[in-house]
């Protein structure tokens, strides 16, 4: 259903042994928003995104994508950028594009090829010979070349230089569908604040704030970055 939340968590808990990563997290995201999932290191951001992708199993509660539990059906709707490199080194850039075109019906091969050309990457370039930063950019290119309902981007600007951050943010903004939702997990708030509609503050596995950026500015009279520094001050 179109008015169903694209992402909904209900009493979601995740523990690794005795360590609690997520503690009764409940929230819902609507379609057509850019959402910042913000929190310090170890606050549970990556865990939440991995749960949405079915890469982890909840300890309690549930997470749904457009009303469905994570599975093959939701994977066709979600475009996921993990915080690590998941590419096979034997592939060339062209192999990777063909791989995505084979498995995802919503993958726009021409768009991806154009973006790689713009980055100066040749189709026959081997992934093995590329730097970590270039691999991260290629991952972003293939992820943003899908016409998905939900983009889950885990630390997309975490490991790159400021110039590359601008390129990445611009790629995200110019390539997502207006009806889709983009969730960007990061602790580098000042860089992404200008593109966000909503923010979620996550601290020690719990949601401490879920508001629109406009509401934060009018209610607290400060930027999201300033509020974050105040809330998470050590």
């Amino acid at each position: 259903m179109a008015n169903e939340p694209i992402l909904q968590c209900t009493g979601l808990c995740k523990s690794y042994g005795r360590k609690t990563a997520l503690d009764h997290v409940t929230f819902a995201l609507e379609r057509g928003r850019i959402v910042g999932l913000l929190g310090p290191n170890g606050s549970g951001k990556s865990t939440l995104i991995k749960l949405a992708n079915g890469l982890l199993t909840p300890t309690a509660g549930e997470i749904r994508i457009a009303g469905n539990l994570p599975g093959a059906e939701t994977h066709a709707k979600v475009s996921y950028l993990p915080e690590r490199t998941y590419l096979s080194d034997w592939m060339t850039a062209d192999d990777l594009l063909k791989f995505f075109a084979t498995f995802y019906e919503d993958f726009n091969l021409d768009k991806a090829a154009q973006m790689l050309t713009h980055l100066g990457i040749q189709p026959k370039d081997s992934l093995k010979t590329m730097s970590k930063g270039t691999k991260e950019k290629i991952q972003l290119v293939v992820v943003m070349s899908r016409e998905a309902d939900l983009y889950l981007l885990d630390e997309p600007i975490g490991g790159v230089d400021p110039a590359a951050r601008d390129y990445i943010l611009n790629t995200i903004l110019t390539n997502y569908n207006e009806n889709s939702t983009v969730v960007i997990s990061t602790h580098l708030i000042s860089d992404i604040e200008k593109v966000l509609d909503d923010v979620i503050f996550l601290n020690r596995g719990q949601i401490t704030l879920h508001k629109s950026v406009d509401d934060i500015r009018s209610e607290y009279g400060k930027s999201v970055d300033a509020l974050f520094r105040e809330v998470f001050a050590c």
């Binding site: 690794y16 042994g17 991995k50 992708n53 079915g54 890469l55 982890l56 199993t57 599975g71 093959a72 059906e73 994977h75 066709a76 979600v78 996921y80 993990p82 690590r84 490199t85 998941y86 590419l87 096979s88 034997w90 192999d95 791989f99 084979t102 498995f103 995802y104």
Partner: protein, 275 residues
Amino acid sequence: MLSKLIGYEFKSTRRIFLPAFGVLLLLSLANSIFIALPEPTLDHVSAPFGVLMTVYVLAMFAVYVLAFAYMINRFYKNLLGDEGYLMFTLPARPSQLIWAKCITSTIWMVVTVILCCISLFLLATPALLSASFEPEIAFSDFWHLIQYIFSELMREYGANLFVVPLELIAIGIAGIINFCMHIYACLSLGSLANKHRLGFAFLAYLGFGVAQEILLFAGSWIVDLTGLNLDFNLTLNTAAQMHIALLGWLLFTIVCIAVNFVITNYILSRHLNLQ
């Protein structure tokens, strides 16, 4: 989706297997040339021949190790390692990911066995032909010998001559599938641990081995106790007994495949925890 996944698996693995198979065939050809040399000439090149034959034996051993290592590596690295972040977010069910890996590994293992047979045949060809150095006669004698053995076996065993090898081939293929699926089940059980996942996978392998021995012992004890074995021997002829034994073995292997698959699929579907 399964065919796409299998296609991807072959593309990922063929760059390793095809060159390895090529090297093995080249080595067997090179050795067969040495074997075809007349005795006085062979004596002069005995040292390089010895080295080449040793390399060939090692290469034969290496392709089996390669097939085994790749079966484990593809599952562990591509599904339970960082690449799992890509594979488990494809619009595919975990069962399809498992079968794609299993089918591809089984095919590579079967091809390895067939290729080793071809390689041995290549190696033996000069010896088969060298009896009189008259290839036409040698081939003719060889062919007559095959025909004679075949007719004698047909007279003795009839249709079983075809059925039994087919049953054995089916058991062999099922055995390879079960071997792969068993390793996958152990690796999946190991992945449930937060640390030392390969160590726990090895423990699971040992645990399965002990459980299997106990079950087999209990089974044979029950058969002895109930006298089923006696009835079986009294009422059936030798050929029927052999078929029942082979089909029973096949059925048992298929049940083992099912058990190992259910364990692997359950863990990867319900308890996946990629770190």
